[in-house]
């Protein structure tokens, strides 16, 4: 079995299984903890608060937006860029349609792929350099934050390196890093991709039930 067959075959299957089971385990675990019973009479809707809490957190309020604009631009640039890349880059759609869905969808043209990647990279670099050059951020960041960032960065970089699509080795390296990323995902803060809506929703629901305007 060649390197590429290994990383795209059994290793990928194992990594994907760990990713899916691990992520499901953690999300179900959080939901099972549930919420403490609130016996006070409700003054508003918890369910509406859940959604409002989620939507409201997509953009910070007034003065915070002004003070953190670069963080917002970097954050959105990185995340939207990453989703654009993951879901609309031609090689990814080909892989997903072949291995998972059985069908494909329209893909980004190559220049779109490149620009999306540039936005994602710029965002990720801004987010990380902010982490190291803001004393408070540095203090509250731990290994998990740095590992999560760097694995994601290396996955993206190896993908960028493979863009000529002329060397199997480069594609295999990208796939190897994707597998490592999938395995690490459920164990660290990368999980925020699946849990952020629960924490924001929880805060929103608590305030919503109390009838507070978010």
């Amino acid at each position: 079995m060649s390197f590429i067959e290994f990383v795209e075959g059994p290793f990928y299957t194992v990594a994907m299984t760990i990713f899916l089971l691990g992520a499901a385990w953690r999300v179900i675990g959080i939901i099972r903890i549930g919420r403490k019973k609130d016996i006070s009479p409700p003054k508003g809707s918890a369910a509406a608060g859940f959604f409002k809490g989620n939507l409201r957190h997509f953009f910070p309020r007034g003065i915070f937006a002004r003070r953190t604009w670069l963080h917002i631009v970097g954050g959105y640039g990185f995340h939207l860029g990453l989703f654009g890349l993951m879901l609309f880059a031609a090689p990814h759609v080909a892989f997903i349609s072949e291995r998972i869905t059985g069908f494909g969808w329209p893909t980004l043209p190559r220049w779109g792929f490149v620009i999306t990647a540039e936005i994602a990279f710029a965002g990720l670099i801004v987010l990380w350099v902010r982490r190291i050059s803001d004393p408070v951020m540095r203090l509250i960041s731990d290994w998990d934050d740095h590992i999560g960032t760097w694995i994601t960065f290396f996955v993206m970089l190896s993908g960028c390196f493979a863009m000529q699509e002329s060397h199997v080795f480069l594609r295999a390296t990208h796939m190897l890093l994707v597998n490592i990323w999938l395995i690490y995902f459920p164990f660290g803060r990368l999980m925020h991709a699946f849990t952020f809506f629960l924490s924001r929703g929880n805060t929103g629901a608590t305030y919503g039930r109390k009838g507070m305007n978010l």
Partner: protein, 371 residues
């Protein structure tokens, strides 16, 4: 300067020639032509040989076979001039535009040969030694001089120097610069360094990866450079006090040197980065999108300027990185937490210290004040 004029010959052969971009491709064509000619010769010889043997007696045209008319094609396909004459014309300044393709760029010119020689015999050959030399000198300096300490020790009190946005702009630029520097060196030095060490296959893989990385991160550097300019240009204009700094060689070999927010060395680094960085950005974009530029000379000049500019920036940045980290105690604080120790400010940027605090940098009431 070679003026653009039509090729002084026009034949089918010349058209095939002008079809190609660059002299290298032309020589490829000749190489292929030789192979094809050899194969044709061999085939002819085989046919002649077999024709003489009994093979011919086994192959008979069918009874109803007719002779189809043969299209002879345009006459005089090889032209009326020899290869030597054509090359001589090119060497003496004949330039050509492809007459049989949609591209209108200049495809043949003699400068390509000079460019290739300059690139191979000078740039590729020596480029790598400059950074190695600078690293050697820095190591030597560090071994002799050691870390430049804050003479009066840390005061424990800090003053703000850079905002968070300044720091993010700096590290963003530095990050992109390092990716470009490394990938660029791989592209430039693949043949003389990677091939002898690891072979052609590894070089091919590394160069392919580096080229993709370089092309993708290049435009980010253009953005970073503009951001850096906007954020740092204030305080980087040269002043009279900078001349004193030059005479004392920046205190590199001892003695106190006065300076405002940025000293002469930093200001020079800033402007070098801006000017050479702008050249790198322009030439880089030309090389990334060559199809927008018709004149081959522009591309040739771009590769030369891009290479020289890159080596210059890499070498000077090594010095900057040294002095900003291990070389000088307290310097990195400004880019990590945005604040610097008061004593560091007094020793290295006394005029700036006085400006922002309103206190004298020579004020001895501050414990441990120096120089």
């Amino acid at each position: 300067m070679i003026e653009r004029r039509p090729l002084p010959f026009r034949s089918r052969k010349a058209e095939i020639l002008t079809h190609q971009t660059g002299i290298k491709r032309l020589s490829n064509i000749f190489a292929y032509a030789r192979v094809i000619a050899f194969m044709l010769l061999s085939a002819t010889w085989l046919i002649v040989e077999t024709g003489q043997s009994d093979a011919a007696s086994h192959v008979r045209a069918p009874e109803n076979a007719v002779n189809l008319p043969v299209d002879d094609g345009p006459p005089n396909t090889l032209g009326t001039r020899s290869d030597g004459e054509i090359w001589s014309d090119i060497r003496h300044g004949a330039v050509g535009n492809p007459s049989s393709s949609s591209a209108s760029g200049q495809a043949i010119q003699s400068l390509g040969q000079d460019w290739r020689l300059l690139r191979e015999n000078y740039i590729v050959k020596y480029a790598g030694w400059f950074p190695v030399g600078v690293i050697g000198l820095l190591l030597l300096y560090f071994l002799i001089r050691g870390r430049m300490k804050i003479a009066s020790g840390r005061s424990g009190k800090t003053i703000p120097r850079f905002t968070l946005i300044h720091r993010i702009a700096h590290w963003f630029t530095a990050g992109v610069f390092m990716i470009l520097g490394l990938s660029g060196l791989i592209i430039l030095l693949g043949r003389p360094v990677i091939v002898p060490l690891f072979g052609h296959e590894v070089n091919s893989i590394m160069t392919s990866a580096a080229l993709q990385g370089h092309n993708l991160f290049g435009p980010l550097f253009v953005v970073a450079l503009m951001w850096m300019f906007v954020k740092f240009v204030r305080g980087n204009f040269f002043q009279l006090v900078d001349f004193k700094w030059i005479f004392k060689l920046g205190g590199l070999f001892g003695g106190h040197v006065s300076s405002s927010q940025f000293n002469f060395g930093e200001k020079s680094w800033f402007w070098l980065l801006m000017i050479v960085g702008a050249v790198m950005s322009i030439t880089g974009l030309v090389l990334e999108f060559p199809w927008f530029f018709e004149d081959l000379r522009l591309l040739q000049a771009s590769t030369v300027l891009h290479g020289i500019g890159a080596v210059t920036l890499i070498c000077v940045s090594l010095g900057h990185i040294y002095i900003g980290s291990v070389g000088m105690e307290g310097a990195l604080d400004s880019m990590l937490i945005g604040e610097v120790d008061e004593n560091w400010a007094k020793e290295h940027h006394d005029l700036w210290y006085e400006e922002v605090t309103g206190k004298s940098a020579k004020d001895d009431t501050e414990e441990g004040a120096s120089t």
